[in-house]
C-alpha cells in the first residue's frame, strides 16, 4: 500500500500541497515544543534543559515503532522508503561540523526557520549564515568532492551494516532512550538553573 505518492495512490501534482501541510505541522510542533528558542536548544549541551534530547528521541522512537508496526501490518512497505545514503566520512565530518555549528549558533536549519517565523533576529542571521555556508561549500566543491562522494556504502540500514535484528535494535534503543530521559532529569536537578 504505502508510501502513497510513489505508488501512485495520490497523483504527483498533489505533492506540493501535501508538502505545505506537512511543513505547517512540522513548524507548529517545532515552535510549540520551544525549538524556536536558541537558549532552550543549547540547554541540551549544558544540562539545564533537555527538551531537544527528549523531543528528538521520543520522535525517533515513536516513528520507528510506528513504521515497523505499519510495515508488519502491510500498510507501508519499508523497503520502498527513502533511506538516507551512507557516506561514512562525509557523515562523521559533516556531523562534527554541524555539532560545532549547533553550539555556536544555537540553531539547526529546521529550528532556525521556525524561529525566523516568529521574528527572532538571531535566527534570521543564522539562516543567512547557513546560506553562506552552503555557498562556500558550493564554491569549494572541488575541494570537498572526495569527501562528499567518497566512502559510499549505499543506502544501507543498520540491519545491513551491523547485521542485527531490527526489532531487537528498536527495543534496545527504546530502553536506552528511556534511561537517557531519566538520567537527563537527574542531571537537570543538579545543574544550576538558567532562566531564559
Amino acid at each position: 500500500m504505502g508510501p502513497l505518492i510513489p505508488n501512485g495512490f495520490i497523483p504527483f501534482e498533489w505533492s506540493s500541497i501535501i508538502a505545505i501541510v506537512i511543513g505547517i505541522f512540522f513548524g507548529f510542533i517545532l515552535e510549540a515544543s520551544g525549538f524556536s528558542s536558541s537558549r532552550k536548544l543549547a540547554g541540551v549541551f549544558y544540562g539545564y534543559d533537555f527538551a531537544v534530547l527528549k523531543v528528538f528521541f521520543t520522535a525517533a522512537i515513536t516513528s520507528l515503532i510506528g513504521l515497523f508496526y505499519m510495515d508488519y501490518l502491510g500498510y507501508v512497505d519499508m523497503s520502498s522508503l527513502y533511506v538516507h545514503p551512507t557516506y561514512l566520512w562525509g557523515a562523521i565530518i559533516g556531523g562534527a561540523i554541524m555539532g560545532i555549528g549547533f553550539v555556536t549558533g544555537g540553531f539547526c536549519p529546521g529550528t532556525s526557520l521556525s524561529a525566523v517565523a516568529i521574528g527572532k533576529i538571531d535566527a534570521i542571521v543564522n539562516v543567512l549564515g547557513i546560506m553562506v555556508g552552503i555557498f562556500i561549500f558550493s564554491e569549494l566543491y572541488t575541494l570537498f568532492e572526495p569527501l562528499y562522494n567518497g566512502y559510499f556504502q549505499g543506502n544501507v540500514t543498520l540491519v545491513d551494516s551491523l547485521g542485527i535484528n531490527k526489532y531487537w535494535f528498536v527495543f534496545i534503543l527504546t530502553v536506552v532512550a528511556i534511561i537517557m530521559f531519566a538520567a537527563s532529569d537527574m542531571i537537570r536537578k543538579r545543574v544550576k538553573k538558567v532562566f531564559y
Binding site: 536558541s38 542571521v125 553562506v132
Partner: protein
C-alpha cells in the same frame, strides 16, 4: 496581558511534542516515502540566487549544475514547499502563544552583537556541515533514524558528540 507575558515560555511537554513529531514523520513517510527536511530549501535558495546573479557561473560549477540543468527550477521542489509550511506553522504557533516579536535572544552575560556574530558563524558551519553530510538534523538524523539508516545514526551521533565536545568552549555564550 500579564497572563500572556507569563505564558511566553510555556511550551509543550517535550514528550508530547516528540510524540506528535514522530506521528508526523510516520505520516510523511506514509504519504511521500521520505522524511522531513529543512536545509534542502536553503540550498535551493542559494542555487537560485547564484543562478540569477550569474547563470554562466552556475552552469560551470560542478555543484550548482546538478540543480540548474535544463528547465528544472530549483525552487519548484518538495522541500521548498515544506519549508514554506514550516514558516507558516511556526508563525501560527508563535502567534497563538504570543511569542511573536523582533528580538534577539541572548544570555544576559553577552552583548547583542556577540550573539549575532556567533549565530552567523554557527550558521556558516551548519550550512557547510549539512552539505557534506547531505542533510541536517531533520533531514539526515531524524528522518534517517526513522528508517534505521546507518548514515542517519552516524550523523546524529556526530552532531551530538561534537556538540558536547565543543560545548565547553562556548559556555560563556549560553550560561
Amino acid at each position: 496581558m500579564k497572563d500572556k507575558e507569563q505564558n511566553r515560555h510555556i511550551y509543550w511537554n517535550p514528550y508530547f511534542g516528540g510524540f506528535l513529531l514522530g506521528l508526523l514523520i510516520i505520516f510523511t513517510f506514509y504519504i511521500t516515502g521520505r522524511g522531513l527536511g529543512a536545509s534542502g530549501a536553503m540550498k535551493s535558495s542559494v542555487v537560485t540566487i547564484v543562478d540569477d546573479v550569474s547563470h554562466e557561473h552556475a552552469k560551470q560549477s560542478a555543484y550548482y549544475s546538478k540543480f540548474v540543468d535544463g528547465d528544472k527550477n530549483p525552487m519548484n521542489n518538495w522541500i521548498v514547499f515544506e519549508t514554506l509550511g514550516v514558516l507558516i506553522g511556526a508563525f501560527i504557533s508563535g502567534g497563538l502563544a504570543g511569542r511573536i516579536g523582533w528580538r534577539v535572544q541572548h544570555s544576559p552575560k553577552i552583548t547583542r552583537r556577540r550573539r549575532l556574530i556567533f549565530a552567523f558563524s554557527g550558521g556558516i558551519l551548519f550550512g557547510l556541515g549539512a552539505q557534506i553530510a547531505r542533510g541536517c538534523t531533520s533531514g539526515a538524523a531524524l528522518s534517517g533514524m526513522a528508517v534505521l539508516s546507518t548514515g542517519g545514526f552516524i550523523t546524529m551521533l556526530a552532531i551530538f558528540g561534537s556538540g558536547y565536545l565543543f560545548a565547553y568552549f562556548f559556555r560563556k555564550n549560553w550560561i
